[in-house]
């Protein structure tokens, strides 16, 4: 008798991003509308494993989660010589678009969490017509810093320990202990300075205040979902952001924090299922009407 084998498969795709070749690891499962999932800062695509394995969603969606360069199984590019890693708005946007092109995805849905939620807003501002729908989890145009990121990368503090301990408070107390530990495990495994480098985008380069008003949800629907226990990107941050965007959908998720898909997959499913159903329904109507979707 063989063991239980999960349905997702992992592969590598070679992608040129801003002229530099990257070997990007991704996992996928399912058929249908491409649904590209973006992990949080300092973590990797394993956060999406429950969604990837979801029997119902995978019947209608081709669910894909990739590790950003320098994260998970996506190594730094061959040309990297050790200089400080810093994620930028332009670089992050280019990475997502290049990955989608490399896989030949036609009008994918992109769902991102935390930094992934922030970049989803940038995709909505500048590239809405390329996407079928955009979903921002724990997303806001800006949020107030609550710690000094220099603690994340210094030789006299264990990076894995401090990264995990900092974000541990962003997990809802109701989340199952095993899921909490799994979520933190990825933070304990990040490369030195990578979480800090991601937060350069989050804290410094990716301030979208004053820009989100340009988002046209008539071109691409935008869904924002934030956990009530997220004090980094708080429900108030998301509501404030959505107030500037006509037609943005906002949901505050109970008993969830900053990592809904990994800290409590069952609770998250209750909130994301209706969103995916609505996207599916909208796509079906558009197809019947002959619109290009």
């Amino acid at each position: 008798m063989t063991g239980h084998i999960e349905p997702m498969v992992g592969r590598y795709v070679h992608v040129a991003i801003d002229g530099e070749m990257h070997r990007i690891y991704f996992e996928e499962n399912g058929d249908g509308i491409p649904l590209v999932c973006l992990h949080t800062a300092g973590s990797d695509g394993r956060q999406w494993r429950h969604l990837l394995a979801d029997e119902e969603f995978s019947r209608k969606f081709r669910i894909i989660a990739f590790d950003m360069p320098w994260h998970g199984k996506s190594n730094p590019p061959a040309g990297w010589t050790g200089e400080e890693y810093r994620l930028t708005t332009a670089g992050y946007t280019a990475t997502i678009r290049a990955f989608c092109r490399a896989l030949g995805l036609e009008k994918p849905v992109v769902m991102g969490c935390s930094i992934g939620g922030r970049i989803v807003l940038n995709l909505a501002i500048d590239h809405a017509s390329e996407f079928r729908a955009l979903i921002g989890l724990e997303a806001a145009d800006f949020q107030a810093p609550w710690y000094d990121t220099s603690w994340l990368h210094r030789p006299d503090v264990h990076g894995g320990e401090v990264c995990a301990a900092l974000v541990s408070g962003l997990i809802a107390p109701q989340s199952p202990e095993a899921s909490r530990r799994e979520t933190l495990w990825a933070y304990m495994q990040g490369g030195p300075g990578i979480f800090k480098g991601d937060l350069y985008f989050y804290r410094v380069d990716g301030d979208l205040r004053g820009r989100v008003g340009k988002i046209d949800t008539g071109i691409c629907p935008l869904y924002l979902l934030t956990g009530e226990y997220d004090f980094s990107c708080s429900p108030e941050d998301t509501r404030r952001t959505a107030a500037a965007i006509d037609g943005a959908s906002v949901t505050i998720m109970e008993q969830l924090g900053h990592f809904p898909m990994s800290e409590n997959p069952g609770q998250f499913r209750r909130y994301i299922a209706p969103v995916l159903s609505e996207i599916l329904e909208h796509s079906t109507i558009s197809t019947k009407q002959g619109a290009h979707v």
Binding site: W146, V162, G169, P173, F231, S234
Partner: protein
């Protein structure tokens, strides 16, 4: 920070009910005993030797930690006693932090500092090198929340 600034900062914080404050002080005094019942937490602090000031804002304790164990916990002030870092919060914050399922924004030490219900001061190095240790240490009364009237 000047005394005036400090008072202004304190005024923004939630005032704590007196009955709760007494219970919080009592609960703090019980933390060393709870730590002794948590050998895994002591083990995580095995490399930690530290003098710190922890507790309610106006009734903190000098805490001496050696190899992860609290070897002394004495109410402040103690004449000329030094400490490396201090984490102090309103009594209301401690009561909320120790609820079995704390409310959003009251569930983490750094959530409390963000909402200005707690203050973190001094040389933060021992606190940051042992951040999860201190989060778990200061959450120990949560397990015994029924003994902390709110």
């Amino acid at each position: 920070m000047s005394a005036l600034q400090e008072n202004a900062c304190l005024k923004r914080m939630t005032p704590s009910p007196i009955s709760s404050a007494a219970a919080v002080i009592e609960a703090f005094a019980g933390i060393p005993g709870l730590l002794e019942q948590a050998p895994a937490l002591v083990a995580r602090g095995r490399a930690l030797d530290c003098e710190c000031l922890l507790g309610p804002l106006d009734h903190p304790f000098h805490v001496s930690i050696r190899s992860g164990r609290i070897v002394d916990l004495t109410p402040a002030p103690v004449l000329m006693r030094s400490w490396r870092f201090s984490y102090r919060a309103t009594s209301a914050a401690w009561s909320a932090y120790w609820e079995p399922a704390p409310r959003p924004g009251w569930h983490d030490l750094l959530a409390l500092t963000k909402r200005e219900e707690a203050r973190l001061e001094g040389d933060l190095h021992p606190f940051m090198t042992h951040l999860q240790y201190f989060k778990d240490l200061l959450a120990l009364p949560r397990r015994h929340a029924s003994s902390v009237p709110t």
